[in-house]
């Protein structure tokens, strides 16, 4: 049967009975756009039904003349990742930093109601290919000679659906067929072409990425601890630029693993090699050239929140890093990617424990303990590698916090099983950094409509209530509303600043010395002002100036005693 809905409407229906006047409304509201192609069984035709876009493969044979695009992390992570990919033989290019113009493109070409990491990152790719076309590259060439590589996940938040959003926005922008290659954060490469894939997410790739992210994380943290205290404005940025050039080159030209080293061989080689550690030691020397004034009293603001909003630097989080520094704060940033990796390992490990014994098939316990063992080993490796780089940089940065400790702190407030996003991490970090006197204030950045992050904020209200003295401010980030967001930060920062000043004043009293005396001693001993000089953290004291003053006083006392 062919459905009668799809036949043409008789004109007689469209006139007012008895008058012959054509009725414009009836004319207008006859139904258009109907599929008149009926299927065999009379239902709407299978031939005309929507199918998701066909995904073009990226093949090994195309690798030589294809540029692998990627991006969306901090500029430093992207730079080092580019080095790794080039070292693996790809023509790689990191996308420029995200921009409001890109954000607008994604709003125009993508779905409505997305979170801002989606808008910024998707729009950034669309803008890049559009700019490329505007510069004279043909659309066909752009599609044929570029692929975009991004992470995927099976998480419950829309991050797992980004891939489709890239494709949709590119489709609307006229770049149908542009290849989006997905490698899962826990699933490995996602390609099934029948031929060798052009992009291989193999062990070389993952070890390269992990090392690059480790280095980028450490540089990232380090520069944020220095910049507020630099004597010459711009010095830290200048050195960082040189550092990144050096490290990117290092990763690009790093000696590859022996081709037949195998899984265990490559892991062992990673553990045994010291070349990255040596490189970071050289980086530390470069930073040591920067003159600091550690006596500047500044509140330390710990930036926590959703992963991308934390790590991006620019309009994606209202330029929060720079804004805080401009307002006189020291920004304490996370080892975002390493924390994320250890978090995922922890979640998988605990998830396996929840299911222990449920699988009744033979060998279950062997598989269970093997899995746990693998995760434990991976955790140990990550921690060891991170510690090696921290030591190379002088040991001035706080070591990576154990995921078990974080889960324990969050447990009274949040069930860690609520996966996706940062779930219990935000709560745990707020408590940890407060309890260990590592920040004066925590600023949680969360994208507009971020699902998990919004809920944890509800729980933070209780956390703040139960920890007197804790200063916590959540900020919802999006592409607009920067001025008001900054005002709210200034509001909380006012209290944090007062807290830092009070701490300073009490500390100075505790030293029993004047600032001038302390400063004179430090000037006489410039080595203690070096960026990599490990000033001890004194219990209950947060600020760099206060800790430094106490240390200088101790040195003076020691000197006086001797």
């Amino acid at each position: 049967m062919c459905n009668p809905f799809f036949s043409e409407i008789p004109q007689s229906l469209l006139t007012t009975p008895g008058t012959g006047i054509a009725h414009p409304v009836c004319m207008a509201l006859g139904v258009g756009n109907l599929n008149t192609d009926c299927g065999e069984n009379g239902n709407r035709s299978a031939g005309r039904h929507y199918r998701r876009p066909v995904e073009s493969p990226f093949l090994d044979s195309q690798r030589a003349d294809t540029t692998v695009l990627f991006g969306g992390l901090s500029p430093r992570h992207d730079r080092l990742m580019e080095g790794v990919l080039k070292g693996l033989g790809y023509r790689a290019r990191a996308l420029p930093n995200v921009s409001l113009a890109g954000y607008e493109r994604a709003k125009e070409f993508g779905n409505n109601g997305l979170c801002n990491p989606t808008y910024f990152t998707v729009g950034n790719l669309v803008k890049y290919v559009q700019d490329l076309e505007a510069s004279g590259v043909s659309r066909e060439d752009i599609i044929a000679r570029h692929v975009f590589v991004t992470a995927g996940s099976c998480g419950t938040c829309r991050f797992g659906m980004y891939e489709s959003e890239y494709r949709l926005a590119l489709h609307h922008a006229g770049f149908d067929g542009f290849r989006i290659i997905l490698f899962g954060t826990d699933d490995g490469i996602d390609q099934s072409t029948g031929q060798k894939a052009g992009f291989e997410a193999n062990l070389d790739f993952f070890l390269g990425v992990i090392n690059a992210f480790n280095a980028a994380d450490v540089v990232n943290q380090f520069l944020h601890t220095l910049r507020p205290y630099e004597v010459e404005e711009g010095a830290v940025d200048r050195v960082t630029e040189q550092v990144l050039v050096r490290l990117a080159s290092f990763f690009e030209h790093r000696r590859p693993f022996e081709p037949d080293a195998g899984f265990v061989g490559k892991i062992l080689a990673t553990l045994a090699r010291r070349d990255l550690v040596d490189e970071m030691t050289a980086v530390a020397t470069m930073y040591d050239e920067v003159a600091l004034d550690p006596f500047r009293v500044k509140p330390v603001v710990r930036l926590i929140g959703e992963f991308w909003a934390q790590i991006t630097e620019g309009p994606g989080n209202f330029h929060m890093h720079r804004f805080l520094e401009k307002e006189g704060a020291e920004v304490s940033v996370d080892r975002s990617l390493f924390t994320r990796l250890t978090y995922l390992l922890h979640m998988h490990k605990q998830g396996a424990r929840d299911r222990k014994g449920l699988d009744k098939r033979p060998g279950h316990y062997v598989r269970y303990y093997k899995k746990r063992g693998t995760f434990t080993l991976a955790e140990w490796i990550l921690k060891r590698e991170n510690n090696r780089l921290l030591r190379a940089m002088g040991g001035t940065l706080h070591p990576m916090v154990s995921q078990y400790e974080l889960a324990r702190l969050a447990a009274p407030y949040w069930n860690w099983r609520t996966s996706s996003g940062e779930s219990h991490l935000e709560i745990a970090e707020n408590i940890y950094y407060h309890q260990h006197h590592l920040c004066h204030m925590a600023l949680s950045v969360k994208p507009f409509t971020c699902m998990p992050s919004t809920q944890s904020d509800g729980v933070q209200a209780k956390v703040v209530e139960q920890f007197p003295g804790m200063i916590f401010l959540p900020i919802e980030t999006s592409g607009d509303g920067e001025v008001i967001a900054h005002s709210r930060v200034q509001m909380a920062l006012g209290t944090a600043r007062a807290k830092a000043r009070k701490e300073w004043s009490e500390t100075l009293d505790r030293t029993g010395r004047s600032l001038e005396e302390l400063r004179a001693f430090a000037d006489d001993h410039p080595e203690i002002k070096r960026p990599t000089y490990p000033v001890p953290h004194h219990h209950g004291v947060v600020g760099r100036a206060a800790n430094f003053a106490l240390h200088v006083a101790e040195l003076m006392n020691r000197r006086a005693a001797s």
């Binding site: 809905f5 509201l29 039904h49 929507y50 659906m161 609307h172 069930n415 703040v464 209530e465 209290t495």
Partner: protein, 1110 residues
């Protein structure tokens, strides 16, 4: 030179500038001033400071200090040497000095709302908890300003406006745009302005209490600061009325011997607190901080205009004067020449009237559809009054020429159409979309796209060969609409008529981010701060309007997809600046086969709705019937009175709607006709029980005949499936403590009372949990659910909220509040069970996952925090709160999770637990089978009768009428059966009929698979929604209707896929997106009526066509 001992405190807010000159030693205020700046923040401040310099000799560079606070204060640091102080910190400093006993402060500013709560710190002293609204200015003075201006309330009258004793109506406080929409609807129903304003006060206070306090209790004493609190009596009363019940509910100890009213006070100089706080800040700073540098730099800055935008900006609305001149020439408005009449001529005309949201328009048409006369006027607040005036004007236009007007037919449209039809006897009342389409096609038969932008609504109608192919309407948000432009212009001191000229004069304009009018409002403040001038801001707003229309409302990036002839109409497009922006945008987004779009501004742009109504009247009255119109004389003599009080409240159901009676009297008549408005259902249309019963009978008959599976699901999900009691027998012997405890727990099962909130996934999984408990011996009557979602339930409980997620999630707290404060009070509950559901069994085959959205999963955790933050309310009430984390999609794990949590609550054995889970799953199957059987029967009937059914593409909680705003029920009343994704039958014959060909062709492996349309199939409810879309797309008697809640993170990524699935098949598709806590009745009504009209035409084709043979 001695250090300066005088300090000026400046507060540059979004609507006013305030300054105080204080003596730092004595804290004495020596001088003060307060002025509205109308968008000219810095120039008004300059004038104010010049006055200060003139009046006080010491105010000279180097002689005084200056500190500035407020949203516009930052530039003053470099312009006059002022030290910047963040406003909340400034207010806190002032309060700490002047009112040390204060427990909390509420300051409402023009764009900001701030709350500071002072709590005793265990380490001594006071701890300060400040909060401030984020970028959304809902719940602030801006909303009050805008709405009072719209209602034409003079400042003096607003100041005296009361709250106490005034009848309140529901107004959304969350968002200024929503509030405005609600007020507008109420106004058009004839609700008096005092009730509108009192309702707005209530909404603003409620919004601040539910969001801005972040769940903290406003402790006494409460200081009310800021313009609205200071100047408006009703605002103060609203705070008192709302705070005191909270104190009672939360057991706040009040100081003895003080009237609670006196604990909530407005201090002297309330409007100067931020400025005084800025001065207070100076005291703690070195004396060199804030050294006044004089006014030269500020004067230079003000005079030179925009010097430092600090943001991306565009050049002017036009490329060059020549281009602008060419545009103006091309789009020059054709002057309308009204018809002239001979003396004594009888002018037989059809009257069309559009009672719009902000204006009333009317036309007279001759029998050939030519326009004889037209009239337009801004609404004065009451549609009956407006109609009387505008008809009188049309009548005069004819009769002043000595002719006689005879109205042959009267058609109405617009928000007020139903009231006007009843009041004046219109022959026809048609929905606006239909009216606008008719009016466009009357003049432009080859139109492809009609874009109508009115005061409140944006309508886009897409045509093909003169037939409507699709339409898009803005949802509840009237972002960037006409009224927004108008009111912004007025607030910047520019009249609407001058808007275009002023905007065209701007040489540059800021780039507004499109999307939300409230955010635009925030941007305006931001841009003003950066020095943008009113003309530039107006140009920027005109430029952003097309983005809101085509990208935000229509969501169409390539306009060539729609066709090539665009008709622009609606009052807003009388503004040439808007038209210029529209033309440029359409051209730049028209990516077609080298073709150029044809863009026409309707020659009767503002009156197109009225013309459409007139044409419709002409059609229905053609040639015969006498018009039902009451007549011109009677119209002029019509008077009316409105009554809204407790006496008008409807008591026919638990909603107890506060109705308004409009009694209409025509002079000379003894009878008064009563119109009833403000009712939420048909029962409220009458006053006596007998009439109500007749209506109810009719409604019930329709409901019985037309199943609404949304309602059925809402009912079936929470009923008892009466499982057999298969609990273990009590152990004969109990020796150990554990055995004894188990016996005690088992004995207690029958008395255990368990409360569960009626929210979120509970709409799909409750049969599992209910059966789990009942099968172990918990009595069915002891399983208690929170009440159905209602505005009252939400309002009562939302004040504990600390975050602003999607509305369905926000309901977690109010529903648990209802369990504690209503259900528990009636009969004590032992525990409240609100499971954290992480995944569910998958209904879709070969999906990658079946997870629940993380917002839903985590809601019980956030809810628990809300009730245990200041004190553990559960413990206090003797209730155990259990939010067991469950993976229902992994049965063995689920069994373990339930066992671990409930073994010590119910005294369960592992085997008992396993059986209970099995029985729960069996109940789930029965629940689904019941709905599917009902749906199958209805589908078969639809096929037999060639009728249309609607598939709701929504999530389980959209079965909650408090969330779906009864939209589906409206369609049921119009006799469309409603199906839910879970109800769609999965019998082999049906699946084979719909999907068999595709399975056999290898496009999919299973009929219940979605891999062909959606790759990232992780979310259980998204997967179900997508499969339902596929089902609807393939079934000839079904059409699809998507509903989605604002901020839904799982819906956003699948919007395009859903549209693709439905539209590729040619299936009619409608959507209600961004549903939120407010019910935008006006917008819903227009959509429902439009869709109904559309579907009627659609069905007519089915009925008239020859029936197929088997």
């Amino acid at each position: 030179m001695s250090a300066p001992r005088l300090c000026v405190g400046i507060d540059v807010g979004s609507t006013t500038v305030k300054a105080v000159l204080m003596d730092l030693d004595t804290d004495r205020i020596l001088w003060r001033d307060y002025q509205r700046h109308e968008g000219k923040q810095l120039s008004r401040l300059l004038a104010l400071l010049r006055n200060l310099e003139a009046e006080v000799e010491d105010v000279r560079p180097g002689k005084i200090r200056v500190c500035a606070t407020g949203s516009g204060a930052a530039p003053l640091e470099r312009l006059i040497g002022a030290k910047f102080v963040q406003e909340v910190n400034a207010v806190a400093l002032a309060v700490e000095r002047l009112y040390p006993q204060v427990g909390s402060v509420v300051e409402l500013g023009g764009q900001d709302a701030k709350i500071i709560i002072f709590k005793d710190d265990p380490s001594g002293g006071k701890r300060k908890i400040p909060t401030m609204n984020d970028k959304c200015a809902g719940g602030t003075g801006a909303v009050l300003d805008k709405i009072s201006a719209k209602l034409g309330i003079p400042a003096a009258q607003l100041a005296e406006q009361r709250y106490d004793g005034i009848s309140l109506h529901h107004v959304a406080g969350k968002c200024g745009v929503f509030a405005e929409t609600d007020i507008n609807s109420l106004q058009l129903m004839g609700i008096p302005t005092d009730q509108l304003m009192a309702s707005l006060f209530d909404a603003i206070v409620g919004q601040n209490l539910s969001v801005l306090t972040r769940g903290h209790t406003l402790r006494p004493w409460v200081l009310l600061l800021g313009g609205p609190n200071t100047f408006i009596k009703g605002m103060r009363e609203a705070w008192r009325a709302n705070i005191q019940p909270l104190w009672k509910e939360r057991g706040v100890v009040l100081p003895e011997g003080v009237d609670p009213d006196d604990l909530i006070l407005v201090p002297e100089d309330a409007q100067y607190f931020a400025a005084m706080g800025a001065v207070e800040y100076a005291k703690a700073e070195p004396e060199t901080v804030g050294a006044y540098t004089g006014l030269d730099a500020l004067a230079k800055y003000v005079e030179s205009g925009v010097a430092d935008h600090g943001i991306a900006f565009s050049t002017a609305l036009s490329e060059s004067p020549e281009e602008l001149a060419a545009f103006k020439e091309r789009y020059r408005k054709e002057p309308f020449t009204p018809a002239t009449f001979a003396r004594g001529e009888v002018v037989r005309a059809f009257l069309g009237l559009d009672g719009g949201s902000t204006s009333t328009k009317a036309v007279l048409l001759d029998p050939e559809g030519r326009i004889l006369q037209k009239a337009y006027q801004l609404s004065k607040g009451n549609p009956i009054e407006d109609t009387k005036e505008i008809i009188a004007r049309l009548r005069s236009a004819v009769e002043d020429q000595g002719a006689v007007l005879e109205v042959a037919g009267f058609g109405v449209t617009g928000y007020a159409k139903d009231v006007l039809k009843s009041a004046f006897g219109a022959d026809v009342a048609i929905v606006e979309t239909v009216a606008h389409t008719a009016a466009a096609l009357h003049f432009y038969q080859h139109a492809d796209v009609i874009c109508d932008v009115g005061g409140q609504d944006i309508k886009i109608i897409v045509l093909k060969d003169g037939q409507v192919k699709d339409f898009k309407l803005n949802t509840q948000c009237s972002a960037g609409n006409g009224y927004f432009l108008q009111s912004t212009a007025q607030s910047l001191g520019v009249s609407v008529d001058d808007y275009a000229d002023v905007a065209f004069a701007a040489e540059a304009m800021p780039n507004f981010s499109y999307g939300c009018a409230v955010f635009l409002q925030s941007d305006i403040v931001n841009f003003q701060r950066q020095g943008w001038k009113p003309d530039q801001i107006l140009a920027g707003l005109a430029a952003v309007l097309p983005k809101n229309i085509w990208l935000y409302v229509a969501q169409i990036p390539n306009l060539a997809r729609l066709g090539s002839t665009f008709i622009l109409q609606g009052g807003t497009q009388r503004n040439l600046a808007v038209v210029k922006a529209q033309v440029d945008f359409i051209r730049s987004h028209f990516r077609g086969d080298e073709a150029e779009p044809r863009i026409i501004v309707h020659k009767h742009c503002g009156e197109s709705g009225a013309i459409g109504a007139g044409l419709e009247a002409m059609r229905v009255q053609a040639g015969k019937k006498p018009s039902a119109f009451v007549g011109l004389e009677q119209t002029a003599l019509t008077s009316y009175a409105t009554i809204t009080s407790n006496d008008t409240r409807c008591h026919f159901c638990k909603n107890t709607c506060l109705r308004t009676f409009i009694d209409i009297t025509v002079a000379g008549d003894t009878d008064t006709r009563r119109l009833i408005v403000g009712n939420s259902c048909e029962k409220g249309l009458v006053e006596d029980v007998a009439s109500m019963k007749a209506i109810k009978q009719d409604v019930d008959a329709t409901a019985a005949d037309t199943p609404n599976l949304v309602q059925i699901q809402a009912k079936e999900a929470f009923r008892s499936y009466a499982p057999s009691l298969v609990a273990d027998p009590l152990p004969a012997f109990a020796f150990t403590a554990a055995q004894k405890q188990r016996v005690a727990l088992m004995q207690r099962r029958s008395d255990l009372r368990i409360g569960m909130p009626r929210v979120l996934s509970m709409y799909s999984v409750t049969p599992m949990f209910r059966t789990y408990f009942e099968s172990r011996g918990v009595r069915a009557k002891n399983i208690v659910f929170s009440d159905a979602t209602s505005p009252k339930l939400y309002k009562d409980g939302a004040k504990r909220g600390t975050i602003d997620p999607c509305f369905p999630s926000k309901l977690g707290i109010p529903h648990v509040h209802n369990l504690i404060h209503v259900k528990h009070e009636r009969a004590p509950l032992d525990l409240v069970f609100f499971p954290m559901i992480d995944d569910v069994p998958s209904e879709v085959v070969n999906a990658l996952g079946c997870r629940i959205c993380p917002t839903i999963t985590a809601t019980p955790e956030a809810t628990r925090a809300a009730f245990t933050k200041e004190e553990d309310l559960f413990a206090k009430k003797g209730i155990r709160f259990m939010n067991t984390f469950v993976n229902m999609g992994q049965r063995e794990l689920f069994e373990r999770q339930m066992y671990l949590d409930f073994k010590d609550v119910l005294g369960l054995s592992a085997e008992e637990n396993r059986q209970a889970i099995a029985m729960g799953f069996a109940a789930m199957e029965t629940f689904q089978a019941t709905m599917r059987a009902r749906a199958r029967a209805e589908l078969e009937r639809l096929e037999r009768e060639h009728r249309i059914g609607i598939v709701l593409l929504g999530r389980p909680y959209h079965a909650d009428e408090g969330i779906n705003h009864s939209i589906l029920a409206e369609f049921q009343k119009r006799r469309y059966p409603i199906f839910t994704p879970a109800s769609l039958p999965v019998d082999d014959d049906i699946l084979d009929d719909l999907f068999g060909d595709e399975v056999r062709a290898g496009l999919i492996r299973h009929p219940r698979e979605i891999t062909d349309v959606w790759k990232n199939a992780y979310s259980a409810n998204s997967n179900a929604k997508i499969w339902a879309a596929k089902f609807a797309a393939r079934h000839p008697n079904l059409i699809a209707m998507e509903v989605s809640s604002f901020r839904c993170g799982h819906d956003a990524p699948i919007f395009a896929a859903i549209e693709g699935i439905i539209e590729s098949s040619g299936t009619p598709f409608f959507s209600f997106r961004d549903l939120d806590e407010n019910k935008p009745s006006g917008s819903i009504k227009i959509r429902v009526e439009t869709i109904d009209y559309f579907l009627k035409r659609y069905r007519e084709r089915l009925v008239r066509e020859p029936q197929p043979t088997a």
